[in-house]
Every structure is written in C-alpha cells, then in structure tokens.
C-alpha cells in the first residue's frame, strides 16, 4: 500500500514537471536591456509594445531601464567608452555615439525596407565614410518650432504675426503682448544649442568646413547671436533661462509656458503631447511655423533613435527586436500613441492618425509635419555632423556668458571657435 502511494506520488510530480516545468526550463531566455528616456508617455507605450514582442518571442525577455535624459547624455557615453552598456539605447546624439553603435544589417529581414523608410536618418547614425550600416531606427523625428499662447494675444488685443513673419516680427509682437498682460517671458528659447541653431540656420549659419577645419562662427551665426543678445538687453527674453545657469546646462521653459507666463516659446515638436496633457483647456495654445530669417524659414531637425550597441552580445535577438519595432505597423502605432512626428518616410507620406490627440495637439502636429518639408539641407547636414553637439554646447555656454554681461560677443565668438577646435583636436588624439 505504502509503496503504491510512493509510486503514484512520483508519477504525479513527474507529470506536473513534464507538462509545465520542463519545457520552461528547456527554453533558454535571452535578456535584452534597453536604456530609455521619456519626454512624455513613450516609455509606457514602448513597454506595451515590448510585452507583445515577448509574447510572440518566448526566448527573449526585455528589460526597459527608464532613466533621465541626463543619464543618456552623460552616463551612457562613459559606459560605452569602458566597454560596458546595455544592448540598446534611445539616444539623441547619434553622430557623437556612432562609433559605439552596432550594425544589425545582417540580422534584419529586409535591409531594403530599412533604407527606403529610414535611409536619410540612418546616415546620422553612421560613422563618417560608412554608407551601409543599419544601427537603429528613429523613434521620433523632431523639428524645432514655436508654441504661442493664443489666449494672451487675445487678452492683449495684439494681432498675431502671419505666415512668413520674421523673428523680429514675433519678438516685437510678443513683447507688446507681455507688456500688456504682465507676462514675465515675452519670448523664451530652450537653453540649448540645438534650439539656437534653429534660429541661426534661418539667419544663414552654415557651420561649414573650411580647409578641413570646422568654422562654427560665420555671418549667419553672428546675426542670430546678436539677435538673442539684443533681445535679452531689451527685455524680449528673460535672463532667467539663458543667464541663470552656466556652461552647457539645458534649461527649458515648458513649466513657464504651461503656467501661461510665456507668450512665444521656441522649443519643438516633442513638447506637443506634454502640453496636450497638462495644459488641457486652461488656455489656447498653438504651434506656428518657424519664423523666417534672411536665409530661409527652416527649423532644425533632430530626434531620438533606438539603436543597437556594440556592447550587446546578442546581435541576432537585437536585430529581431528592431525589425519588429521598426515595422510599419508597430512604428505607426508608436508614433500615433505618443503624438510624435514620424521618423519613417513611408508613414510620413501616408500621415499618422493621431486618434488620442486633442484638436489643438493635432493642429500643432500638422504644423510640425509641414515644417519637415521646409527643412533646409544645411539644417540636415548640421544635425548629422558628428561635431554638432560640440558646437551646440560651445555656443550655448559662451552666449550664456554674454547674456549676463560676463563677456562680449566678439570674445564669445573667439572662445566658441577655440573651444570647438580644442575639443575636436582632443577627440582626434589616438594612441
């Protein structure tokens, strides 16, 4: 009797193991880690998409490490330089990190699909000279552009500048509104070199190489710099953004805009979802086309890409995951739910149905979508230049000093040129 019970018990245990435990143990799982930052709800949406991928690919487990943007800019490069790092990361400094990106061309199903839909942006992620690598895809294309508090214009009874208005027109109008409604920030620019170059390109900045040497300061750059400094002197821009911190520190005015303290806010398309969610019906806000300068009315393109990193030891799985996320169906859902301008050429042509967007957000996205078509080739080239962030940082750091009166514009131009030259020289030093 006792023996029979033992045999029955063992058989039962084996059958339980056989039906559930053993197959689970037999299938080895690869864990992929993604370093990710969010401006809005994109982390949440990505998590949702990743769970679906895991359901279809039981052999892969994905961990989405959500970190602040600062960690992407400052910690990730150090990790990568030391040979450590995640399998994938969402980055914005594509040119700067290009040497650490893994080419997954051999691991994607259809390289032609990638070239066709992400081609122009893939070039931003490649090291100079490389024309074939597929390191990742654009989770969003961004364009710089202004948001305007329409309610403040209405309250002040000031007419809003029309299409093809210049930067000066907007500065004048915003100051008039701010004076009437006592808004502390007539014009606010994110304290960012990228945003400054949105203005500078329209003023004719080229950031060209002359004799093999990068010339960050040209006439267009100087026109833009002078405009910014003059605006600070005349109170069109408040020193609280560009003057209140030092060096390369980023400072946005999104909180001030949400609190209706800003009349005209030069930022970019990535703020749309955030404003849609947080401003609600507190006041009317709109995105307007980028103002014009003497050269053009171009914004600066930019964006974030999800890229494979050389530190990964699972290239096949990384390729499979990127194939899934970059597919038209999944990418379309991602852009739609996050209210991002698509970084997928096919989808940009077809248009994205932003079902969750309010009429205000949908209108803003339309404005930014149209701005993509007006981007000047110089703006594309500057964004793709591996030294662009060096120039952006030098510009913002030195112009910040001019704004508070620590130095003059002429001194700042010299310092920007020498800062850029010194950093490029340091980067070239090899054993």
């Amino acid at each position: 009797m006792k023996r029979t019970a033992w045999v029955a018990g063992c058989a039962l245990a084996l059958s339980v193991l056989g039906s559930a435990g053993i197959p689970a143990l037999a299938q080895a799982q690869t864990t992929l880690r993604i370093m990710w930052y969010s401006d809005g709800n994109e982390g949440e949406v990505m998590n949702d998409l990743l769970r679906r991928f895991e359901d279809k690919n039981k052999d892969v487990k994905i961990v989405l490490d959500q970190v602040p943007f600062k960690a992407i800019n400052e910690t990730l490069p150090v990790q990568l330089a030391s040979g450590q790092g995640p399998d994938l990361a969402r980055i914005t400094d594509m040119g700067g990190l290009a040497p650490y990106l893994m080419d997954v061309r051999a691991h994607v199903k259809d390289a032609a699909y990638w070239e066709q839909n992400y081609g122009p942006f893939l070039q931003w992620m490649r090291v100079p000279g490389n024309t074939t690598a597929i390191p990742g895809y654009m989770t969003q294309l961004t364009v710089t552009g202004p948001f305007v508090n329409k309610t403040l214009f209405e309250q002040a009874g000031v007419a809003m500048p029309g299409a093809n208005a210049t930067w000066e027109d907007w500065g004048k109008a915003a100051k008039a509104v701010a004076d009437k409604v006592q808004a502390p920030f007539p014009v606010a620019f994110d304290r960012s070199g990228h945003r400054f170059f949105g203005l500078a390109v329209s003023q004719g900045a080229q950031m060209a190489e002359v004799g093999g040497e990068l010339k960050p300061v040209d006439d267009g750059f100087k026109r833009a710099a002078k405009l910014v400094v003059d605006w600070h002197k005349s109170g069109v821009m408040s020193k609280e953004l560009w003057g209140a911190v030092s060096g390369t520190a980023y400072r946005g005015a999104n909180e001030e805009f949400k609190n209706a303290q800003v009349v005209f806010y030069e930022s970019g398309s990535w703020q749309t979802a955030q404003f849609d969610k947080t401003i609600g019906d507190a006041f009317d806000w709109i995105a307007v086309p980028t103002p014009c300068g003497p050269a053009n009315c171009s914004s600066m393109p930019g964006g974030a890409a999800l890229v494979a990193l050389k530190t990964s030891s699972h290239p096949a799985e990384v390729g499979r995951l990127l194939d899934y996320l970059a597919s038209e169906e999944v990418a379309s859902e991602f852009y739609a739910r996050t209210l991002f301008v698509p970084g997928h050429i096919g989808l940009a042509k077809k248009g994205i149905a932003y079902k969750s967007a309010s009429p205000q957000a949908a209108a803003a996205l339309k404005v930014f979508g149209d701005a993509v078509g007006k981007l000047d080739p110089v703006a594309y080239r500057i964004q793709g230049d591996p030294s662009s962030r060096i120039v952006f940082n030098a510009a913002i750091s030195r112009l910040g000093q001019v704004v508070v009166g620590e130095t003059t514009l002429d001194d700042a131009y010299q310092r920007i040129a020498s800062d850029v030259a010194q950093q490029i020289a340091e980067r070239k030093k090899k054993q």
């Binding site: 800019n73 400052e74 490069p77 150090v78 330089a81 030391s82 400094d93 700067g96 502390p184 408040s238 020193k239 609280e240 003057g243 209140a244 911190v245 030092s246 060096g247 390369t248 520190a249 400072r251 962030r389 060096i390 940082n393 910040g400 000093q401 704004v403 508070v404 009166g405 620590e406 130095t407 001194d411 310092r415 950093q423 490029i424 340091e426 980067r427 030093k429 090899k430 054993q431």
Partner: protein, 342 residues
C-alpha cells in the same frame, strides 16, 4: 525568599549576563585566531606584526583612494577620449600647461582655459565668505546654546538637523524658496515689495550659495565648538566673576583663548570643505548666472562628463591641481591638530 531571588537573581539576567556572553564570544574568537596569528608572527617577527593588522585598511585605501589618485595622475598626462589608460596617448604636461597658460592670473579672461580660472576665483570668493560666516555663526550659536536657556536641547537639535539632510535636498528646498515664484518672493510681494530674481544677479547668487551652505553645515561646527566650550573649567569663569570682570573681557581673555584649538580645527575643516564645494551650489544655482557661481569642481565635472568630447585628461589635470591645494590644507590641519594635542 522571593525578595532574595529578585535581589540576587535579576541582575544576573541583566547587563552583566550580556557582558559575560560578549566576553565569552570574544575569548572564543581570540582562541580561534590565536594559532594562525602566532604562526604569522613566527614567520615575520613581532616587529612587523603592526603591518599585518593595518593590512585590511591599507588594502581598502589602496583600492579606493590611492589607486584612483594614481589613475587620475595617469589621465592628466594622457590625451584623447579613450577611457582605458592603455589606449590613451601620452601628452606630458600639455593639460597642465593649458590650465596654467594665463596673461594674468588675476584676470580669468586672459587665460587660455578661462573657465578654470573663473572657477578658481569663484571658489576663493566662496571660501572667504563661507569661512568668515561659518565660524562667526557657529561660534555665536555655540555660545548661546552653552548658556542655560529654556529649551536648550530642542534648539541644539534644531541647529543640528540640517546637517542630517542630503546636500541635494538642502539645495532643492532653498531653490523652491528663492525662485521667481518661490516662498521668499511671495513674502516680499505680500509685504508690498517687488520680486527679486535671486538667480539672475551674480551678487545675490553668491550670497545665497554661501548662506545655504552655512545653514546646512553650521550645526556640525557648532557641535565642535560647543564641546570645546563645555571643556573649559567652570572655576576659571567663577574666578573671573569674583574679580568682577566684564562679560566681553571674559570672552576675550578666557573663552576665546581656551576655545582656540577647537576654532582652529573648525577653520581648517571649513576651509577644506569650501574648496571642495560642488553639489549644493550646483543644484542651487547651476553655476550661474553666467559663470558667477561655477566652482572648480563643477569645471572638472563639466570638462569630464557634460561636454560631448569628454576631456578626462584636462579634468584630471585640474583635479591634480585641486588635490595639491587640498593636500597642503590637510597638512596644515594635521600640524595644528598635533600641536593642539602636544
């Protein structure tokens, strides 16, 4: 009978029982470690045994202090952006030459690496004001808390509490108080005044950087001075009182000279901490406006990590120079502490 058990039995289960257990455990441990230690002593001799006992700490210091210092020096004489020293080209004193290349050391704008010298100037300004304010306020607070005032224990706790807070928390609290729509501006406008943009004016920004630092750390130095005040024999004061000495003279002739060793320690500690200042000021002002509150350590951090080209070599050289200054200050502290002890 019961009383006898209580009076004799209870203490046996109390502290002395615990002490007996502890002593027993220590003895057991000693017995366990005795044979290997004897073997080591036989091997290396009794004179070298202190080094064996120092070894664990030496390993710890070697790995986490001396090795990083060595790596830092290597970085300072190598260039490029590679992280591993073996992959970095040797550049000799290039980074030091760049940092020290100045038309006039009194004018940052004349220096090749002007931001470093702006950091040096700001750190010096911060250090001078911080030292004076910290010593003065700590001394006054310690003198007040040493008197038999009502709620003395409560006030001692109140002054010490900010020391327990993280520097980032301290800076964020004050940032919220001082910003455009912060508490202080709300008070000012309620009282009929105008808002002050504290972080846009260089003078105000430095003032608040010093103020917040003093607020946050004063409790610690007050405690050191309080200990010094309490160590001064009462009979000296009683003798002065019988002689009818005036309070200021008592302070000047008795308190201050007898407190001087503690004051020196406080001075040197404040000096070293001021030179190293980073976190509080960085979170509070971000180094601004412009570079008005950018300290040397922030310059090092920015050069090494915040720029796209992470210039570890230049940052390493600046760290070595800062380390040299701190080394001298530490020697002064050691000298003063030893003189006090002797």
């Amino acid at each position: 009978m019961t009383d006898t058990i209580r009076s004799h039995g209870a203490p046996a289960r109390g502290p002395s029982a615990a002490a007996a257990v502890t002593t027993g455990s220590a003895n057991a441990l000693m017995r366990l470690t005795d044979p290997p230690m004897r073997a080591v002593q036989r091997l290396i001799g009794a004179l070298r045994m202190p080094y064996v006992f120092l070894l664990p700490n030496l390993v710890f210091f070697g790995l986490f202090v001396f090795l990083p210092i060595g790596i830092n020096i290597v970085f300072s004489v190598t260039g490029g952006t590679a992280l591993f020293p073996s992959e970095r080209p040797y550049v000799g004193a290039e980074h030091y030459a760049r940092l020290l290349d100045c038309g006039s050391y009194l004018e940052a704008a004349s220096c090749r690496e002007d931001l470093f010298w702006r950091g040096v100037g700001n750190t010096l300004t911060f250090t001078v004001f911080q030292m004076v304010a910290m010593v003065l306020f700590s001394l006054v607070t310690a003198l007040v808390l040493n008197r038999p005032i009502r709620g003395r224990g409560f006030f001692r706790a109140v002054y010490f509490f900010p020391v327990l807070l993280s520097p980032v928390v301290v800076a964020l609290i004050w940032k919220w108080i001082l910003q455009r729509d912060g508490l202080l501006n709300a008070v000012l406008t309620t009282a009929g005044g105008e808002k002050i943009l504290f972080f846009v004016d260089p003078g105000w920004a430095m003032f608040w950087a010093v103020f917040v630092s003093v607020w946050a750390h004063m409790g610690f130095y007050t405690l050191i001075l309080l200990a010094g005040l309490q160590a001064i024999p009462r009979d000296v004061y009683e003798a002065a009182e019988m002689d009818g000495t005036r309070p200021w003279r008592v302070f000047h002739r008795i308190t201050l000279p007898l407190l001087w060793p503690n004051l020196l320690v406080v001075l040197v500690l404040v000096l070293i901490r001021s030179v190293q200042v980073f976190d509080e000021v960085f979170v509070l002002t971000g180094g601004g406006p412009g570079t008005a509150t950018m300290m040397v350590v922030q310059y090092i951090y920015t050069t090494a990590f915040a720029n796209q080209v992470q210039n570890f070599g230049l940052a390493g050289a600046a760290s070595v120079l800062l380390g040299a200054v701190l080394f001298v200050l530490t020697l002064i502290q050691l000298f003063l502490t030893r003189r006090r002890a002797s």
